[in-house]
């Protein structure tokens, strides 16, 4: 397999009201050499869209806030229609280090994978808040129901190749999409692997993302989706 070059990589950042940090994230991505950056603006009510364009990235704008799942699906559908070879999904809140995209691409090539998930649990140095650790452990249990044993099913830092992009048909609108992707990849026997990543937890990024209430809603939607599927 030939080397994945940065020009072939498209980085998608599902974002909702991330005007505070989106410019910094885009700037850091560009400094790492990634040119194809698309912020999937999930109906933000602040200046996310404006700041994204000012920072020189493109915007895929959802006129209504439909959830991170909908934004991810929009990104995947865009990638599929454009025939992209690889797509990276990253959080837009500055939690992930753009420099670690190379870790994902290296792992994808090394293991001939279809999907690489950046796991916060493989490397013990990640200082995740305890509540998030508990939440993620519980969420991982749900992926076990899909007969999948990933350590970080809720990580938003993922690399997908064309096979995954073209074949994964996801349905959930909210955070359940993380687990749904793992379930469906497992069902379709896609090669899903993990690689350790570092994350940056700030007060800002901790105020975003999943919490217990959202987790319960996610669990309900996952169970319902699974039942309807069968």
């Amino acid at each position: 397999m030939s080397m994945i070059i940065k020009d072939d990589l498209w980085v998608f950042l599902p974002a909702y009201n991330e005007a505070t940090v989106v410019r910094d994230v885009i700037k850091e991505l560009k400094s790492c050499g990634y040119k194809n950056i698309i912020v999937v603006d999930d109906g933000s009510t602040d200046d996310t869209r404006k700041f994204t364009q000012e920072a020189g990235a493109r915007v895929l704008h959802l006129c209504l806030n439909r959830g991170v799942g909908a934004a991810t699906r929009a990104a995947m559908l865009f990638a599929k229609r454009e025939g992209l070879e690889f797509m990276v999904l990253m959080d837009a809140d500055g939690q992930h280090y753009p420099s670690e995209i190379e870790k994902l691409t290296d792992e994808l090539q090394k293991q001939k994978a279809d999907i690489v998930i950046g796991s916060r649990f493989l490397e013990q140095k990640s200082k995740m808040p305890f509540s998030r650790v508990i939440y993620n452990k519980v969420a991982n249990m749900f992926t076990y129901f899909g007969k999948s044993t990933v350590t970080d099913s809720q990580s938003g830092f993922r690399l997908l190749n064309k096979v995954a992009i073209d074949n994964l048909e996801l349905e959930l609108d909210a955070y359940g999409i993380c687990t749904e992707m793992v379930w469906k990849a497992n069902t379709m026997k896609l090669n899903l692997v993990e690689t350790p990543i570092k994350v940056l937890y700030t007060k800002y990024s901790q105020s975003k993302g999943q919490n217990l209430m959202k987790g319960l809603q996610t669990a309900y939607r996952l169970i319902k989706n699974r039942l309807y599927e069968h």
């Binding site: 006129c63 209504l64 439909r66 909908a70 699906r73 559908l77 609108d173």
Partner: protein, 117 residues
């Protein structure tokens, strides 16, 4: 037999309702799947209106209620519960459609030239 006013009005209204729904199916404005709960309820209400004592006593006996009023209230609550489930399902399907349209619109509005395709 002493026929009461509601025993005339309710069945007539139910028949009108059912005929209207059949007309809507015939003109492709709706499908059986959407119509059957309302039609079933209309038939049920008509039967109760035409034979109020017989049906409520039968319901009370079948459900093992002492009072036929309680029995009919229980059944109507069941219908209400069913209606809530149906409406909730409809609401979720509409939400799915809205998401789908929002995604399609975003892709349509994306500047193709800018994305270099």
């Amino acid at each position: 037999m002493n026929i009461r006013t509601f025993q005339i009005i309710i069945p007539i209204l139910s028949v009108i309702f059912i005929l209207w729904q059949l007309w809507r199916i015939y003109t492709f404005k709706t499908k059986w799947k959407s119509v059957w709960p309302g039609a079933l309820f209309a038939v049920f209400i008509s039967i109760i209106a035409l034979f109020p004592d017989f049906t409520t006593n039968w319901l009370a006996k079948t459900l093992d209620f002492k009072s036929n009023v309680n029995a009919i209230i229980f059944v109507l609550i069941g219908f209400l519960f069913g209606a809530v489930i149906i409406l909730y399902d409809l609401y979720k399907r509409q939400q799915k459609t809205i998401t789908k349209l929002t995604i399609e619109l975003s892709l349509f509005m994306a500047d193709k030239d800018d994305f270099g395709s």
